[in-house]
């Protein structure tokens, strides 16, 4: 009897709690929701609308239909140049960075002594970013007295080669950026290392029992178990390298022969140097669609090669 007396109150208590939960949820989440409307979805829609106009921020926007997109796809050669530069940078910087990061993580996972010290050293460069990084590397790439050519000097003498003009030569400017980006592989390395440490030891023991050597163990245990982490690093790497801006703005600007005119740099110039806000908005939307397609494509491809423990997530 006492039991049936208590039951209704407890149930009422629970539903009151659920209601409180719901109220709290939306209340606590409200900053993000407001921010998403004001600085996320709102501007996203607004820039789509703007991309159909001519707008220089001083006069009223004028509707021009698809003219901006027509110019972007058919008459503006710089768009393709910027896309090509960005693609070149991404295609080399991201995979190379991931390979080196994985190698370092594998080395650190060999139960080395002084792991925290090594980890600190390799992560340290990622703390340097923005203008400071660009200034330092501009100095390192200096053709006459820079660090890089100083180190290369013996080789250059040996093969009778002139000093490479890193940021001045249109052929070498983009590879220079790739080289610089490798310096910041520490973040990806830490993520890989955490992933490696999460692989259960018994999988390796079982593989060894079955007679698998180090190479096969890497291919059939390490890589599949690490594949979600690889996907994560790949996705973040591509998205961030598509947006390279500060380094380019400071180091070379458009560069020799527009060879370092990266996409966001071009967008920035159109918007804030020439005040072609409508056209820049069209550029922004093309960037958005590209990032969306590339990410979606990656996740679609990922179904073939990413292994999730316990089935699909």
């Amino acid at each position: 009897m006492a039991n049936s007396d208590r039951m209704p109150t407890r149930r009422r208590g629970r539903s009151a709690l659920a209601k409180e939960d719901a109220r709290n949820f939306w209340l606590f989440l409200s900053p993000w929701i407001i921010g998403f409307l004001l600085f996320g979805i709102g501007p996203l829609v607004a820039s789509l609308v703007l991309s159909f106009t001519n707008y220089n921020i001083f006069n009223k926007p004028r509707f021009v239909g698809l003219a901006n997109y027509r110019e972007l796809f058919w008459t503006d050669p710089l768009v393709y140049k910027a896309l090509w530069n960005t693609l070149f940078y991404t295609v080399f910087a991201v995979p190379l960075g991931l390979c080196f990061a994985l190698c370092l993580a594998l080395l650190l996972n060999q139960k080395v002594r002084g792991l925290p010290v090594w980890r600190t050293i390799f992560y340290l460069p990622t703390v340097v970013s923005g203008v400071a990084m660009a200034v330092l590397w501009r100095w390192i790439f200096n053709p006459q007295v820079g660090l890089l050519n100083t180190l290369l000097h013996p080789l250059l003498v040996l093969f009778h080669l002139p000093n490479p003009q890193w940021l001045i030569d249109p052929v070498l400017a983009k590879p220079a950026y790739v080289l610089m980006s490798l310096w910041g592989l520490g973040g990806a390395m830490i993520v890989f290392l955490a992933g490696l440490q999460g692989i259960p030891q018994h999988l390796y023991e079982a593989a060894e029992m079955d007679g698998a050597g180090p190479g096969r163990r890497f291919l059939h245990v390490t890589l599949p178990m690490l594949s979600p982490v690889i996907l994560f690093n790949l996705t973040m790497g591509i998205i961030s390298s598509f947006q390279i801006f500060a380094q380019a703005y400071v180091m070379t600007g458009n560069g020799p022969d527009n060879s370092t005119l990266f996409y966001v740099l071009y967008l920035f110039d159109e918007a804030f140097r020439y005040f072609r806000m409508g056209y820049a908005s069209a550029l922004a939307w093309v960037l958005f669609v590209i990032v969306l397609l590339v990410t979606a494509g990656q996740f679609w491809l990922a179904r073939q090669w990413v292994y999730y423990e316990g089935g699909a997530r």
């Binding site: 996320g40 080395v112 007295v145 982490v229």
Partner: protein
């Protein structure tokens, strides 16, 4: 896996250390170059290095550092940067921890999917929303103020929300339940129970938002016009055009811009490593 291997290939251990040492040298050389360049004279900095001895400065010229203060209003930029960064850190911590509380402790039906939605916005490139946001702040007459740089931080950052949520989920549920039974409101539990326990997550988020804001370039470039409002990043950028070959001064300025971030890293690095490692765990 390494124990049996270690017995079979004792030489391999040394190979690992040799490789690590070589990589470490490559990673550290730019830092050495930065420091060396900041401590040599005007002429020496432009001289090619011909022997091993040239790698060391002929004498240490600490004068380069005070010289930077004469060449650019460093303290003004520093003060501006501290103001902006302080605002961004405060905003990010408060708003993101509130949002994370909602995801971690309020049982609502689609909360997990909304959380994935928040994470998905990491993929929205800032450049895509740049122009309408600029127009909005211009309409508000906020150009050349710190508001466009600070205010958006008060609406939560997906990365910080993620870090807080993961940490909150690891807290014992009984504590929150007990507080609720005692009749505490959500805000009281957030402030009195959850936040005091969340120190590691707080430190991690403070570090990353500090770094992000300290190094931020595009925002200040667009919104700050008058030189008296510039941040260190803008100051350093304009200093390049001003130095006329005095790379030693430029490098000294760079060291000073980097110093707070480097110090923070050295003293709080375990939080850095944890934070970065956590982002990958979710996959």
């Amino acid at each position: 896996m390494s124990d049996p291997i270690r017995k079979r290939h004792p030489g391999r251990r040394y190979g690992v250390y040799v490789l690590l040492g070589a990589f470490a040298l490559v990673m550290l050389l730019p830092f050495y170059w930065l420091l060396r360049s900041s401590l040599v004279g005007n002429r020496e900095v432009l001289q090619p290095i011909e022997s091993w001895r040239d790698l060391l400065p002929s004498h240490l010229r600490f004068r380069n550092y005070p010289a930077v203060f004469e060449a650019m209003p460093f303290f003004r930029y520093l003060l501006n940067t501290v103001l902006v960064t302080g605002g961004v850190v405060a905003g990010t911590v408060i708003s993101s921890s509130l949002c994370a509380y909602a995801f971690a402790f309020c049982e609502v039906r689609y909360s997990r999917w909304i959380f994935y939605g928040v994470l998905a916005t990491i993929m929205l490139p800032p450049a895509v929303v740049l122009i309408p946001t600029f127009i909005l702040f211009r309409e508000l007459n906020w150009i050349d103020t710190f508001k466009p740089l600070i205010l958006p931080a008060f609406f939560g950052s997906p990365f910080a929300i993620f870090l807080f949520r993961q940490f909150f989920l690891s807290l014992p549920k009984e504590l929150i339940e007990a507080a609720r039974i005692d009749g505490a409101t959500g805000l009281q539990i957030y402030w009195g129970v959850v936040l005091p326990l969340a120190r590691p997550a707080l430190v991690t988020v403070i570090i990353f938002s500090f770094m992000g804001s300290w190094n931020e370039f595009m925002g200040p470039l667009i919104y700050l016009n008058s030189q008296s409002k510039w941040t260190l990043q803008l100051g350093l950028n304009s200093f390049i055009g001003q130095i006329a070959g005095q790379w030693n001064l430029l490098m000294a300025a760079t060291v000073m811009v980097l110093l707070p971030v480097l110090l923070m890293f050295f003293f709080l690095q375990r939080y850095f490593i944890k934070g970065i490692a956590m982002t990958g765990m979710k996959g």
